[in-house]
């Protein structure tokens, strides 16, 4: 029996019992869909992920990409998997029917992608980068650019990347120096070096479409002078066929801790002065367009982290159910039969911790994805509301799962003990794979600064207030339910603490100065993240409690498991909030005041 890498039962619960996604089909945009089509699409995703992605996950890790005769070579299974993905139509699924898609709601699209991410993150990432790239082109590129670059990405003929990071700039985008020189023909000549470009080179597609941030000569310094360009590896002829090379050179592959099946590249653009770039939209607006992709990418990173954590959780659960070792403390007879390690309370603690983290995170990811849909199809009021919630939740959606689902992977290794530390078992790879999540698409530190420095106070705190109202609405709904009342009260207290702490922080912003105000921003994200996940768990518990009374067999066990995981989060995790609030509210300065020379 193969070991599952993500729980279909949980995904179905989240989509239908927690989020009621079928409601989306009432809107004309999604009227062609139904619960049946959603199910059939998830079935295909699950099958392709199981049959084409998961089997080479370890193989891809052991045989990372290499350069042979100037070309990057990967194991053939990666291309086969992505071909199956393309042929099934997943590249174009969420695009409009006008562009050739099936208008799959984002929440469903992200549920679909969860199967692939959990099965094999390295192979799945080629697809997800291409899809994020294509969504940006659908939103901001001209009709001609869409014809030449978007359509082939929707069919899987071309793959895509985003090329932001430069060696000297790292996370500091305002310091990027890649240039774009206008030509009389209308295109730009691109010159510069980019680093850590995932999927930047391979032979799996006819072409690779890089989205490159660069400065048009004479543009203002800082982020206000950055433009966005389509830079294909091969130029594309007017009839859509692939033409000559476009002076994009691979200067090296980067050898990573995890995600080894995904090429991470250093690329030189325009070494010979022949690299054509095509401006997207208006000059100097590049960063705002790129953030369209980045915001989607940040939800995706949270989803990646969650899915890798989920795969580790399910593997260690299966192991714990089948590994006999030792006896319970009450079992004195050394000749008695050994118990399965799941019988040990400490193993159950580690399993429950993983369950609370990964199932809480997945619920948050899908909730945020549903907000993307609501933002798209809602009336003015709902669009604004969904947009505000997305604004404030995006840093949490990225950073919270990437920290805590990585911790889940650590617990999975621990459950397997010495075996978990060997390369013979997948939890070792999953642990390495998930370490990246806290780093890319804006480090977790940057997410904390984004949250506390911008999102909390944006529009006079409208997003923060709205989030608190949403949480309080659930508190109100659950306060009268005997089985949920205690959690409802505990969350109410935590929300009060977060509100008071936030107000105190904002009041001290001016007198303390920006540096001290933001010094503990990572902890702020963790505190608010814990409250958000507790809220999401309470909502799951609410849905589970409704079903529990009438359910039987495995269904009843599923709902009881949800309630127990909620209990774990409220008893073991939410109590961290008062301590975090104390550090934050007092602008605790230990880290801020530490001096370089004292280390």
């Amino acid at each position: 029996m193969s070991i599952s890498f993500i729980s279909r039962r949980d995904i179905d619960f989240l989509l239908h019992e927690l989020l009621d996604v079928e409601q989306l089909t009432v809107h004309p945009c999604y009227a062609e869909h139904s619960k049946d089509t959603f199910k059939a699409i998830l079935d295909v995703a699950e099958q392709i992920a199981r049959e084409k992605f998961q089997p080479h996950n370890a193989e891809g890790d052991r045989n990372e990409p290499v350069v042979v005769d100037g070309r990057v070579r990967l194991i053939p299974e990666v291309k086969e998997a992505l071909q199956a993905f393309a042929e099934a139509g997943f590249f174009s699924a969420s695009h409009s029917a006008q562009l050739g898609g099936i208008q799959l709601p984002t929440v469903l699209n992200n549920a679909v992608l969860s199967f692939f991410s959990a099965a094999n993150i390295a192979t799945a990432s080629y697809a997800q980068l291409t899809m994020a790239n294509s969504h940006l082109l659908a939103a901001h590129a001209s009709a001609e650019q869409q014809r030449l670059y978007l359509e082939p990405m929707m069919s899987g003929r071309f793959f895509g990347t985003m090329a932001m990071t430069e060696p000297q700039a790292g996370s500091s985008i305002s310091d990027l120096v890649t240039t774009a020189e206008p030509t009389p023909q209308g295109h730009y000549l691109i010159r510069g070096n980019k680093i850590f470009i995932s999927g930047g080179e391979h032979e799996m597609a006819e072409n690779i479409v890089h989205l490159v941030l660069a400065r048009i000569k004479g543009a203002p310094a800082g982020v206000k002078g950055i433009s966005l360009f389509i830079v294909p590896r091969y130029r594309v002829n007017q009839d859509g066929s692939v033409g000559e090379e476009n002076d994009v050179a691979l200067s090296g592959l980067i050898h990573k801790m995890g995600w080894r099946g995904t090429t991470s590249t250093m690329l030189n653009f325009g070494e010979n002065g022949r690299c054509h770039g095509y401006l997207i939209g208006e000059p100097n607006q590049g960063l705002s367009y790129m953030f369209h992709m980045m915001n989607e990418a940040r939800i995706n990173i949270g989803q990646f982290a969650t899915c890798i954590g989920y795969a580790g959780y399910l593997y260690s659960l299966d192991y714990a159910r089948n590994r006999p070792q030792g006896r319970l403390p009450s079992g004195k007879d050394p000749l008695s039969k050994q118990v399965m390690i799941i019988e040990h309370a400490d193993i159950r603690r580690m399993l429950l911790m993983q369950k609370a983290y990964v199932e809480g995170a997945l619920a948050l990811i899908l909730y945020a994805s549903l907000l993307v849909d609501r933002q798209k199809i809602g009336g003015a009021q709902e669009t604004r509301k969904a947009g505000l919630l997305l604004d404030i939740l995006t840093p949490i959606v990225k950073a919270w799962p990437s920290k805590f689902c990585f911790e889940a992977n650590s617990q999975a290794v621990q459950i397997l003990g010495g075996y978990g530390y060997t390369r013979e078992y997948p939890v070792e790879q999953l642990f390495r794979d998930n370490r990246l999540s806290q780093i890319h698409e804006g480090t977790n530190g940057i997410q904390g600064i984004d949250l506390l420095g911008r999102k909390i106070s944006m529009e006079n705190g409208a997003a923060f207030k709205l989030l608190m109202e949403e949480i309080r609405a659930t508190i109100g709904e659950t306060a009268g339910d005997a089985s949920l009342r205690a959690w409802s009260q505990e969350l109410d207290q935590a929300v009060q603490q977060v509100q008071e702490t936030t107000e105190r922080l904002l009041e001290s912003r001016e007198p303390a100065g920006a540096d001290l105000f933001l010094a503990n921003a990572s902890l702020y994200l963790e505190m608010l993240g814990h409250v958000v996940i507790a809220w999401i768990w309470l909502r799951q518990a609410q849905a589970a409690a409704r079903q529990c009374e009438t359910a039987s067999g495995a269904n009843r066990d599923f709902y009881l498991g949800k309630l127990q995981a909620c209990s774990f989060f409220f008893n073991w995790e939410l109590p961290k909030v008062p301590h975090q609030a104390k550090i934050l509210g007092s602008l605790e300065p230990t880290c801020y005041e530490m001096q370089d020379s004292w280390f």
Binding site: I41, V44, G553
Partner: protein, 258 residues
């Protein structure tokens, strides 16, 4: 030309099975369902032929069972079948292969199919009788366990898989029925656009009473897990002693050295 492909919805084999209250079949509680694996080969072959022959050919998929089997029917439609028939029968699992065959044959007789594809057996019942019995009741030519298929203007050439890795080639003329074995093809994944199109394809519902005329010829009297065997043998001692002990067991109790 008219083609029929017969499919059955079976439990996912990774489900946890337990006998039902009557002890004559499995309980359906907590089971996940999918299309019978051998029927997927049948659907794929039928769709390939349908694509080769073009628009003058109509491919119908048929399944017998309760409401849940519509899910398998929709998968077949998304794989490329043109239309579907759902013979609604909440008690299909209690019917024997002869009765199931008679239901299919009764429908096929009135439609006049040139070619019928079926899986070689179902993964749950495993009788491998239904396809053959349908052919018998219709008076069609029939061949089973095929791993290769060609069709040319009414003439069928089928490669059969025999025991011991041997192969056989059978030629016959339509109308005919064939049952499909692992290795015949690689079933396609339904594509997302086809899933959306399948929603608009016709699914005719026929109550089973309209087609059922035969009684059961065989009844399942018991369904149970195999009796637990005794514990394994644990050999202990020095390596050379262990080797001689193991060789002795292999000589005595197995055919390894014969």
């Amino acid at each position: 030309m008219k083609i029929l492909v017969c499919i059955k919805q079976v439990p996912d084999l990774e489900s946890r099975f337990k006998p039902n209250a009557e002890g004559v079949w499995y309980s359906e509680t907590d089971l996940a369902w999918r299309m019978n694996e051998y029927d997927e080969y049948a659907v794929e072959q039928a769709v390939q032929l349908r694509e080769k022959l073009g628009e003058t050919t109509e491919l119908t998929v048929l399944s017998i069972g309760p409401e849940r089997v519509v899910e398998a029917i929709k998968k077949a439609l998304a794989m490329g079948c043109d239309r579907a028939v759902h013979v609604r029968d909440s008690a299909a699992a209690a019917k024997d292969p002869w009765q199931i065959a008679s239901i299919i044959a009764a429908y096929a007789k009135r439609e006049g199919f040139d070619l019928i594809f079926a899986g070689m057996q179902s993964q749950d019942r495993g009788s491998a009788q239904v396809g053959v019995a349908v052919a018998e009741q219709l008076g069609y030519a029939c061949t089973t366990t095929i791993v290769g298929f060609e069709y040319d203007n009414g003439a069928i050439t089928a490669k059969r898989e025999l025991e011991g890795g041997m192969k056989g080639v059978v030629r016959m003329k339509a109308p005919a029925l064939i049952t499909c074995q692992l290795g015949l093809n690689v079933p396609r994944y339904p594509t997302l656009p086809n899933i959306m199109k399948a929603k608009k394809k016709e699914i005719s519902v026929i109550p089973v009473a309209e087609l059922l005329t035969e009684g059961a010829l065989a009844n399942t009297t018991s369904f149970h897990s195999p009796a637990k065997k005794g514990g394994g043998v644990v050999l202990e001692g020095e390596v050379d002693l262990l080797v001689s002990q193991l060789l002795g067991i292999l000589h005595e109790k197995t055919a390894v050295f014969r």
